[in-house]
Structures are given as structure tokens and as C-alpha cells.
């Protein structure tokens, strides 16, 4: 009776529920990778993807205890002392107790993410028509690839100026093949590739790309840093010729504004950080608490005393104030902007002062003391009130340049590499963590020149996944 109607009904149900097409579901928040490179706008987004890679935890950004190229070189050097009442974050780095499973893996991965993003652009670049846009995008990608490899090389391998332990560089990756398990390139090949990418980038990149992106001046300055680390002083000077004369040294009056992101003066390249990014650079050094600034690390008392009272940096970089009733010299360089969340600031990756310092050092090493003193005084006159040149020459001039470099670039990720490239030990002072040098001293004070810990251990994740990667000696 009703059966046939029913069977018809069920057949209908069968047909309507044959939902083959509904099985092709795609994420709602992304697109197929191959569809991402069609026009200049797509490529521009991909370039910004590179910069967001620089911002990642482990590269310039660092949440929790992760290593960061911006802080770890200072944490492991002699400029800071751990605060006994801080959270003791990154203490294993401070104590030089890093090894393959307690190491800088987040940095290693983040740097290669930057490289992969650059390579993905370069592999697709011919989808763009030839012209200025294509050149500039290519220039940015090449420069970013060089920077990331250089940052890896300086942390995991010897610096060519002081090849202490061997001849290994780092894997120089120029492909997005996900099956790669590369060996380490030799140190000389690594640097040759870095130089090649930088030099190619210089011929392609725009003079200006706006705040937060690389430009020709920044690339030139970074290239000078590479040459400095290679001990190739003549080329330091040559590379710096790419820095536009429109940049100048920031004045004393404006110096605080640099660290509050209220001016771009004297900043060649910075990694922009906005509040929703959730990156709090300054947390590496301190947290605000109702009991006062709670520092993770304070400035070392001996180093602190190298800052003279007429040095604008002393008040911009430091604040002496109590935490839980005890005075400390806090590092407030990244404490935050004039308004907004605590500890959220941009990462100043290349500044004009480094241009001056690189030039001064190169001139001095080349025996051109007059030029060296000239650029050094350019910096010093913008830092000290009532500055009068001391007219140093010879070793005194070299020492003055080194001192000024340490004072100016403190907590910007330079100190450790400046010691490493010169083959100097890390020697911490006998002072404690408090404002007057009392308090708890560093548990470990000396890292002898040539110690294997001047090179980080390659992380266990890489070792496990890549059987041919060579670990650094000592780990």
C-alpha cells in the first residue's frame, strides 16, 4: 500500500544526501599557497610576511624564556647581572648552561622561517613583470635571506675575524624544498653567500621603503657589520657608502624619543611591534609591579659606572629605583612607549650610531685615525653635554671606539659578538645586583676565550630530524 511511496521517499533521501562535493572543504582563514603570488600586492604582503618572521618569538620577539637574537647576546655577556628577586628567566643562558636540549631552538627555527619566506618569494618572483617593484621586492627578500643567515652564523659558528674552533658555517638555504636535510656549509662559503645576497640586494632595493622595512641604507649598514665581523675593514668603509646622507646622528634632546618610538631619527631599520602582536620586548629586562620595577637583569655595576653623568644614555637607558624596598639599576631602554602597554616597543635593528661606530673602528684599524676620530666625535658630541674632543690616537682611539660601542649599543645584541670576534673572554665583575654594587653576585663570572660555549649548540630537534647536521664541538 504505502510502501511504494515510502520507497520513493527513501530513494529521494539517498539522492539528496549524496554529498560528494561537500567533502571538499577548505580552511576559512587561508588560501592555497600557489594562489598567493599573482600581483605586486600579493608580493608586498609576502614581504611583510618576512618581517613578521623577524618579529617571531626567538628572533627579535621573545616571549617566556625563549632565546632572542636581541637579548641573548647581552644576557650571556658582561653587561648585565641577574636579579636575585626576578623571575630568573633565561637563567640557563646567563649561567652558560645551554646545550642541545636547552638551547636556542626557537631562534634557529625562526631564522629559517624568515629564509623560507624569502625563498618562496624569490622562487615566484618571475610571476611579476620586470621593473622597479619587482627589483625592490627581490632586493628585500635577498637582504632578509642574508640577514637571517648572518644572524644564524654569528650565533652558531665562529666569526671569520676569529675562526677559533673550526671551519664550519651554517646551512645556507636557497630553496623551499621541504625535504631538505642539509649539511653545514663551510664558514667561508657561508660568508661568501651572505655577501653575495647582500651585494645583489644593494643593486635592487629602493632607497626608502617606509618605516619597518629594509632599504638600501640599512642593507649597506648591515653589510658593513658583516665585513666588520670578517675583519675586512676596507670593505666596511665601502659598504657604508650605500648609507644615504639623509641619515644623521640623533641629538641628545631627541635621544629618548628614539626608544619611545616617538621619532625615526637615526633608525635605519626597525622591526615594528604593535600591541595586538603580543610581543613585549622589554619583558626580557623587567616587569612593572606594584612594588616597583621588578628586573630580570640589572645593568652590571662596573659597566654602569662607565656611563658618565653628562651622558644622555645614562638616564635614557637606566633608572635607579627600589623594588620591594631595595634600590636597583634597572635597564629601562625597552620599558614601553609614552603611552600604551608596558614593554611594547619596536626593535631597533640598525641605527645610524652603529654606522658611525663601524666606520670609526674600520678607519682606526686601517690607521686612518683622523677620519676615525671625526666619526667617533660625531657620535660623542650627540651624547655628552658640553662635549670636547679628547683627540685620541692609536690604541687610545681604538679603546675609546670600543668603549663608545659598548656604551651606545648596550642591550641591542652586540656585546657578545664584539667579544667573540675579538677573541676576548667574558669577564663579569665582582659586584652584586643592587644599585650600589652590593647584593648577590653572578654565580659564574668567566667564560674563557675560546670556550666552546661561544658557539651555541644546535638544538635536539634539528639533530633528530637531520642526521647529517654537524653539532658544534663541546656539545
Amino acid at each position: 500500500m504505502n510502501l511504494k511511496y515510502l520507497l520513493v521517499l527513501f530513494s529521494l533521501i539517498f539522492i539528496t544526501t549524496s554529498c560528494e562535493e561537500d567533502l571538499s572543504l577548505f580552511p576559512t582563514d587561508s588560501i592555497a599557497a600557489e594562489e598567493g603570488f599573482n600581483n605586486v600586492s600579493d608580493f608586498e604582503s609576502a614581504v611583510k610576511g618576512i618581517y613578521s618572521g623577524f618579529r617571531r618569538s626567538g628572533y627579535y620577539g621573545a616571549t617566556s624564556g625563549a632565546a632572542s637574537i636581541y637579548f641573548i647576546p647581552d644576557v650571556i655577556s658582561d653587561d648585565v647581572i641577574i636579579n636575585a628577586n626576578g623571575r630568573r628567566s633565561r637563567e640557563s643562558f646567563y649561567d652558560w648552561r645551554y646545550d642541545e636540549d636547552n638551547s636556542s631552538e626557537t631562534f634557529w627555527l625562526s631564522a629559517y622561517k624568515v629564509i623560507q619566506r624569502a625563498n618562496l618569494i624569490l622562487e615566484n618572483i618571475d610571476k611579476l613583470e620586470d621593473g622597479a617593484d619587482k627589483n625592490n621586492i627581490m632586493g628585500e627578500a635577498l637582504a632578509a635571506r642574508a640577514i637571517a643567515h648572518f644572524d644564524l652564523a654569528k650565533l652558531y659558528a665562529d666569526l671569520p675575524a676569529n675562526p677559533a674552533t673550526g671551519s664550519l658555517g651554517i646551512p645556507y638555504v636557497t630553496s623551499t624544498d621541504s625535504g631538505l636535510t642539509p649539511e653545514r656549509n663551510s664558514l667561508s662559503d657561508t660568508y661568501a653567500s651572505i655577501l653575495a645576497d647582500f651585494n645583489q640586494a644593494l643593486g635592487l632595493i629602493n632607497d626608502q621603503n617606509g618605516v619597518g622595512r629594509l632599504n638600501k641604507s640599512a642593507v649597506g649598514a648591515l653589510l658593513s657589520r658583516v665585513y666588520l665581523y670578517m675583519g675586512d675593514y676596507q670593505n666596511v668603509i665601502t659598504a657604508l657608502a650605500n648609507v644615504s646622507s639623509s641619515y644623521g646622528e640623533v641629538s641628545r634632546d631627541n635621544f629618548l624619543n628614539v626608544w619611545k618610538d616617538a621619532t625615526e631619527e637615526g633608525v635605519l631599520w626597525k622591526i615594528k611591534v604593535t600591541e595586538p602582536d603580543g610581543v613585549n620586548l622589554g619583558v626580557a629586562w623587567l616587569q612593572e609591579s606594584p612594588d616597583g620595577i621588578r628586573s630580570e637583569y640589572n645593568v652590571d655595576y662596573a659597566f654602569f659606572n662607565l656611563y658618565q653623568d653628562n651622558d644622555i644614555r645614562k638616564s635614557v637607558y637606566f633608572e635607579t629605583s627600589p623594588f620591594a624596598g631595595v634600590d636597583y639599576n634597572h635597564i629601562v631602554k625597552y620599558r614601553g612607549r609614552f603611552t600604551g602597554d608596558a614593554n611594547v616597543v619596536d626593535a631597533k635593528a640598525v641605527r645610524y650610531s652603529e654606522v658611525l661606530l663601524n666606520a670609526a673602528e674600520a678607519y682606526a684599524e686601517l690607521g686612518q685615525d683622523a677620519q676615525a676620530l671625526d666619526v667617533l666625535d660625531d657620535l660623542r658630541s650627540n651624547r655628552y653635554s658640553n662635549f670636547v674632543s679628547l683627540g685620541e690616537t692609536g690604541q687610545a682611539l681604538k679603546d675609546a671606539i670600543a668603549l663608545e660601542r659598548r656604551l651606545e649599543l648596550a642591550f641591542e645584541g652586540h656585546r657578545f659578538f664584539d667579544l667573540k670576534r675579538k677573541g676576548l673572554p667574558i669577564q663579569r665583575s665582582d659586584f652584586g645586583d643592587q644599585a650600589d654594587g652590593n647584593g648577590q653576585q653572578a654565580e659564574f663570572k668567566t667564560l674563557a676565550a675560546g670556550d666552546h660555549r661561544f658557539n651555541m649548540a644546535i638544538g635536539e630537534g634539528e639533530i633528530n630530524a637531520n642526521p647529517v647536521i654537524q653539532q658544534n664541538t663541546g656539545y
Binding site: 504505502n2 515510502l6 527513501f10 533521501i13 539517498f14 544526501t17 554529498c19 560528494e20 561537500d22 567533502l23 572543504l25 577548505f26 580552511p27 576559512t28 582563514d29 587561508s30 592555497a32 599557497a33 598567493g36 600579493d42 604582503s45 611583510k48 610576511g49 618576512i50 618581517y51 613578521s52 618572521g53 618579529r55 623571575r87 636540549d101 634557529w108 627555527l109 629559517y112 622561517k113 629564509i115 623560507q116 619566506r117 638555504v173 623551499t176 624544498d177 621541504s178 631538505l180 642539509p182 618605516v211 619597518g212 595586538p276 603580543g278 612593572e288 609591579s289 606594584p290 612594588d291 620591594a324 603611552t339 602597554d341 608596558a342 638544538g459 630537534g461 634539528e462 633528530n464 647536521i469
Partner: protein
Amino acid sequence: MKRIVLLAILSIGFITIVSAQRVVTGIVTDQDNLGLFGANVLVKSTSEGAITDLDGNFSITLPEGANTLVVSYTGFETQEVDVTGLSNVVVTMSQGELLEEIILVGYSTAKTSDLVESISTVKGSAITDIPISSIDNLLQGQSTGVEVTAINGKPGQNGYIRIRGLTSINGNNDPLFIVDGVPVNRSVYAAINPNDIESFSILKDAAATSIYGARASAGVVLVTTKRGSAKNQYVEYSLQIGEQEAVDDGFELMNASQKLNYETALGVRAPMTAEQRAALLEYGTDWENVLLRPAGLTTHNLAFSGGNDVGNYYVSLSRTDQQGLSVGSDFDRTTAKVNGSFKANDWITISNSLNISRRNDNELRDRYNVQSPFVAVYQYNPYETIYNLDDNGEIILDEFGDPSYNFTHQGFNIVEAIRNNPESNRWSDVYGNVSVTANPIKGLTLTSTGGYTFNRWKNTYLIKPNSILDFYVGDANAPGIKTDRGYDRDRYIWTNTAQYNFDLDDRNSFNFLGGLEYLKNDYEFHSVSGKGFPRGIEVQSVAAEITDGTTTRTEFSLFSLFGQVNYSFDNNLNVKASIRRDGSSRFGRDNRYGTFYAFGVGYDLSRSLIQSEFFDQLKVRASYGTTGNEPTQLYESIGVLDFASYNDQTASFQGNVSNPELRWETQKSWTVGVDFGVLNNRVTGAVEYYNKKTTDLLFPNQLSRTTGFQSRLDNIGDMSNRGIEAELYYSPFRGDFNMDFGVRFSYNKATMDRLVGNEQINPDNAFSSVLKEGEVAYVWELVEFSRVDPATGDLLYFNAEGEEVTNPTASDAVILSGKSALPRFSGGFDFNMGYKNLNLTSTFSFKGGNWVYNQRKLDLLSGLDGARSIQSVEALDYWKSPGDVTEIPRPDVEVEASSSTRFLEKGDFARLRNVKLSYSLPYNLVDKVGLQNLSFFVAGSNLLTFTGFTGDPEVGVFIEESAGDVGGQLPGEFAGFSYPNAKSVTAGVNVRF
């Protein structure tokens, strides 16, 4: 009397018509002519019924024209008795069909005696009155082959159900959980009112699970909720109240005086004058007392159930209020349920199941730092005060008149944080179905069921302005931070089946089943954060700035066809075969479909081959079949470009490494078993052996980081689980005095059979245990600890060469063959006895063969590394001078970061899970006041524990907050300080009329 019950989704109506009647009396007895108390006597095709008294007597009023009684009693065969012209009858019940219980088996039902599959059933009545709010945890120890680990002791917290071991490494390990035909997520387990549950069917072998295809590798749990019946009309109210407290942590902490001495001796505190010392000792805090509390619990349950020959209903309401063991954590749940069915005509029946539930709780930080109260208990010192005190010991007030909190050596105050950084959750869950069943011709049943679940979660987290945390992370110009988050999950499932029963002759009968199913899941998450909340106002509209906002959305779908044939010969031989084809959106186009099949056979020797009086049942059965497992990730077969922001502009980058060749994880398993009953079924039991092999394991295969990625989802190897399950029940006494024993034992060994291209894998969800070919799954890899050097006080370890060294490296870690974090055996033990209306029931559960890293012990014996925080009194026994033989090293020796065997302990334990004493008032007494039943009980949970482990051996996950969902962390591997498990004592009353 004729009653028609109309059921709509939310409303019920009754219309009652009365007509002429007569009375029949009688007695119901067993084979030995002993009266049966509590038997159900019902007038056929009506709702009119009676229950026998203590001596088995009954009296029933028959409507005009009615001449048949239906008499039923649990454990006996139901009988129809013709009473035409009779006013008094004697009904003798037969026990022969003791096991003839009908249970749910996939898309159909079966008599337990016909089963060829491995299915455990757990009665709803076995798990009511246990004060646990999430029903997964209620299954602990209740059946063989099912191991449940609670994540932690938080009210409403989930557990991990593992059926026959670990199915997958990175894929899903949770069974498919189906409530009344609708698959639900883990988050819904705590939304279910345990009192609503009729039974659980736990499908364990492939013969049972294969019909669920691609989602069934980890087993299937079918939950059947109660339905009304004409035989059993009642209104029931039950109340349970009780108190819980944390189980013993197993550590004795230093007191204030000991701690001060310890700090001075270790040099973290300068020597003090007597006055300084006295000042510190004058005030102090017992942090455990401050942060933990005896927690109250109240549950009300109201149920209405009944029906007639055309319809039935079950309607319930419940409310549970449970305090958390920690101050500031509470749980409440309100549920409503409507189950109904109605015969639209003589061949169409409609039915529904509808559940509505709302839950609220408070979230405490469960991180491994001082923001978690359960860590804080072990970090603050006993001489530290909660508030800043003046010289007279009075609390100092701040500018707002609030007490000013002491920052302690941690720079934080947990009591303040609980008060000023509240986080709360609200879940709203609706799930149910509407089903139409038609029997157009004899033997043919067509069913179409539409199921739907809707889950909503809302979470708010407020860092109040000027709270301590606000100083640390907030903006002084816009104080206060608030985040509102939530998700909506919308899932529908449409299932159509056709079943045909066909008897060839008296001995050969067939059952055919065919069906198709479509499931679609939509999930949407949103989050808004703002800062700057004027005191007291906590909505985002007043925020000085909205700092972050996001929505995300994911979907997946599954389309399936399935079929099944059952053949039964002479009621002795049963054969079953099934097949299912699933299509999943999670795979690439070429690998989208998977076909799964199973075959099972069972034969009862006691009925034919062995003509023995001894055996009541001796059934041998065997099965083989396949199931699948989808990746938990939804889109790994596609390479995608992700979008983010840089400098407030669009940024894009490759988000994953795609694997278009991704295949189903496939499981092949076989089972052999024997079910038996002897001595008139006074002794029953079952023994089974199984071998489950999972091939093409889905796992994020590690990539060289130089690719810019850590891993890519891949099919990387095979693993197997082999095990034995045995259960034995013995009832030496039945009758007024009764006694039952039950033992359930399960043994399972999970082995990594093959790893492709990897010697060893260190999975992300484990701390120090690894996957290695030929080894047990998650075998420990640690540095072997030797001893404390009596000469120097150093910790001595064995290096890879077996020499004692003080500074081992990661490469000195060795595989501890056979030692795994996974339990090797588990089970339960029941003892029940009763005399007339007084009953005692108890269940022990046990688990063992696993090794646990005891991070808690490490934390409390950390020497100089931990001396600023409270330590165990054991730490006082540290090495002091050459020659000291002690287990505690020189205090300045660095404590290894969880990498040696020093704190690895055996996890074996047995626990008195539940014990309950209940009393029902005699029927003739309550009957006089119009009641069917009035009973009382007292019950206890987790009252006794037997273990060699230091502290609570029931280890869930280490840091629940960062563990994410399933697979985020291997449960039971690491014992850290987290929400403690509870022991409880409760009492209750149950009234039925």
C-alpha cells in the same frame, strides 16, 4: 483506564478517560516457589500495573475487556498470563534466560547471548550517586579493556578514555562517543546528567566498531538514556549532599622554623638575630589551609517516566552545585531532558531525545608557576603572610581601603590573584534527535534520524584594574584587562537505515541492515580583548581601547555508506559481517574514501555440542575487522598561505607543509573470546585475547628546521596493542541474603612495530618518553641515576659507557626498555552484599605497570635551586660532610631538569573507588503512604589508596591549561602539581511514587 500520551519536543499533555474494572490477585514465585519481591505485574497493552510485596503477592485492577497480565522481574523471563475468568493466579517465573538482555550494538540491537562482538555494558545505576560530574570519569574501573584517567580533580573536568590501549600516536585516541545516536564532543561529557543514563555499551573489537568506520579506531561508547515505559510509571526525586577534600599529597613540608634554618644553612638567607627570627615566626600562613578547602556538593534530580501502548515519556530536571577544592573554583550544572516516543499509526513510530544543559565554572590558572594555587601551595613559605601586617599584626589597608597584599618572595600573591583575576566559563549544550521509524511490511524497519548538537562556550577573564597582575602586564594609563572568548559548534548528522529480518525456517534467521549517514560540523571561535576598565565596570563597551579581536572558523564533513548481515542458526551459531565506506574532507581528493569491514562468529557449545548440566553458557567467539582514524588536524592535505599582520598591514606566509598523499590511519584487529556461565549462572565470566594493529600511523614527521618548518603530517609507521581481558562474577548467595563478587582484569601492551625513516621519534606530546621501533610505545629515555656520592655530596649518574659521572649530557640518556608511561594492566574489583533492604556495594579500581616521572618530588627536593620556596622535610637530610650516606645531595648541586631516573617511580596503585551503603524502606510500609520506594544511602569515593608511589598515584596531565585538548600531552607521564583529586563522603535520599 486509557491514557494517551502526546509528546512534542517540549510539551507533554495527558488526557485520561475512565471505564469499568475488575480485580485480580496473585503471587509471583521463582522455580523454588519462593515469593519474588518487587516483580512487575502489568495489564497488557495498558499502563496499569502493580509491584509484588515481600512475599510475592500482588493485587491488580483490570479494565473491562483486559484479560492478560505481563509479569516481569530482572533476571527472569518475562511471562504473559491469561487471567480470563480468574480472580487468583500463581505465576512461576523461569530463570533460564538470565542473559537475555537486549543491548545496543551500533545501528541495531542484539540479545547479549547472540553477540559475536566484544561489548561491555555498564548500567546507569552503577554510576549514579558517585560525586563526579563528567561521565567519562564515571566509567573508571567499570569494565574490562577500558582505562580512564582523569585529567585532574577539577569539578566537571574530563578524563581520557582509552579502550584497549593506545590506538594512535598523534591521531585521535578518544572513543567515538554517541549519545542517543548523536556523536558528541568531549566537552559535552560533563553536560550529561548521570541519572538520565540507562546504560553504556562500550564497543571494543572491530566486529563491533567497524560499522562506525573512520572514527572508530579508538572504540565506540554508546550512551542510551532512559525512556519511559508502560510497565514502570513513576515520579522520582533524589537528593545527594556531600563534602569533598583533596586526597593526601604524600609530602610533609617544612614548618616555618625548619624552613628558616634551612635557608640560613644554605646561604640564601643571612644569619638572623633572635629578634628577627621571632618576628618572622610570629605571623605566618598555612598556605594549604588558605588555598584548599573541604568542598560542598549538592545534587537534585527530578524525573517523570511512564507511558502506555501508544506512547511513552521520560522527562527529567537536575541541578548540581559543586564547590572546587580550591577557593575560587566552583561548578554548577542544570540539565533538562525530554525523551518520548509515539505511535503515529500501526506502522509508524516517531521518537525524540532532547537534552539541554548549562554549566558554569570558575577557571583557576593551571600553569606551572605561582599563578596556579596548586603550585602556590608548594612555593610560598610558611613564614610569609597573606597581607602586609603592621607591628601589631593588623592588616595594613591600601588607599582604597582594601587589605594590602604581601608580595612574598615570589613577587606575587595568589590569594589576591584568585580574588582580582577571575576567569569564568559558561557552557550551553543542546543535543538530541528526532527519529521516524516505519514498519511497512513484516520484518522491514526503515529509520530516518536527524541528530543535532549545539555547543556554546563563553569565557571571560578579567584582570581587575590595579591588581598585582595588572601592574605586571597592564597599561598604567588604561588599567584593567579583559578578554571575552567563546565558540559555537554546530553539528548535524542525518542517518537513514533499513533493516530486514528474515527467517528462512525455524533454525535459520537473517538480519540485513543498510544505511547512509552524513555529518557536517561547523565551528566558530571568537575573542575580544580590551584594556582600561573603570573600577567595577566589566564590559568591552567601556574599554579605553580594544586591543585584540579575532574570529576563526573551521568545518569538516563525513559521508558514509554501510551495511551489515547477521545470520543465526538454531540460536547457537551467530555470524555477522559488516562493511562501511567513509569519505572525509580531511584528506586529499585521491585518498578521501576509506572502506572498512568486519566479520565475527560465535557459537554456544553448551546448547548443543556439550550436553552438560554444568555449563549454562559456553560461547566461543572470534572476530576480525578494520577501522580507520582521521587526523585531528583538518586541512593537512592542503598547503595553505596564512595571513597575519605586520605594522598593521597584511602579511602572508606559507602556513604548513602540505601532504596530499596523506592516508587514513588504518587498524586491523582480531579478537578471540569465551563467555561462560556455570552453577546455574552463579558464576559467570569471560576471557578474551586481542591483537590490534594500527598501520599508517599519522604523525607530524620531524623536518629539518632549515626548511622553516618543524614537521609535516605523515603516515610514519605501525603500532600494535595486544592484550588479555578477563572478568569473573560469582554470586554465592541469592535471596534475602545476597552476596556478589566481581573481578575485572585487563592487560595491554602497546608496541611500536615499525617506524618509517626514523630510528626514534620524540613526540611533542611527551616529555621524556619516546617512540622506538620494537619497544613499548612511549618508552622512557632518561639518564640512569646512580647515587649521591658520600665523599663529595654530588649526584652521580651513569654515562653512556656505564661510568659514574657528575655531569651527564643528553646523549647519556638510555632507553629504559619495557618501561613506559602507559599502564600495562588495569581493572576493578567489586564486592556487594545485602540483607533484604540493606545493601552494601563497593568497587576498587587498580592500574599499574606504568612509570611516572615525579616532578612533585623533584620540586620539593631541589636544594639551592628551590630553597627560596618551601621544601619537603626530606630535604633537610642533605649531604653535609664527607662520609654522609644520604639520598639528598649537597644543596648547591644543580638538580637535573627532569632528565634522569632519580625521580622515576612505579605508578601502580589500587584505590577504593566507591563504597555505598543503602537502605530501602519496606514496600508494604511505603505503599501505605502512596510511595513506590523510599531509600537512603551514604557513599564514599577514593577513601583508601594502596600504592608505593610518592603522593597521589592517579596522575593525569601536568599542566592542563597548556596541554590543550587531546593529544596535547600524554596523560600519566609526568606528576606535577595540579588540581588535586578529591575524596568524598556523600549521603542521599531517593523517593519514588
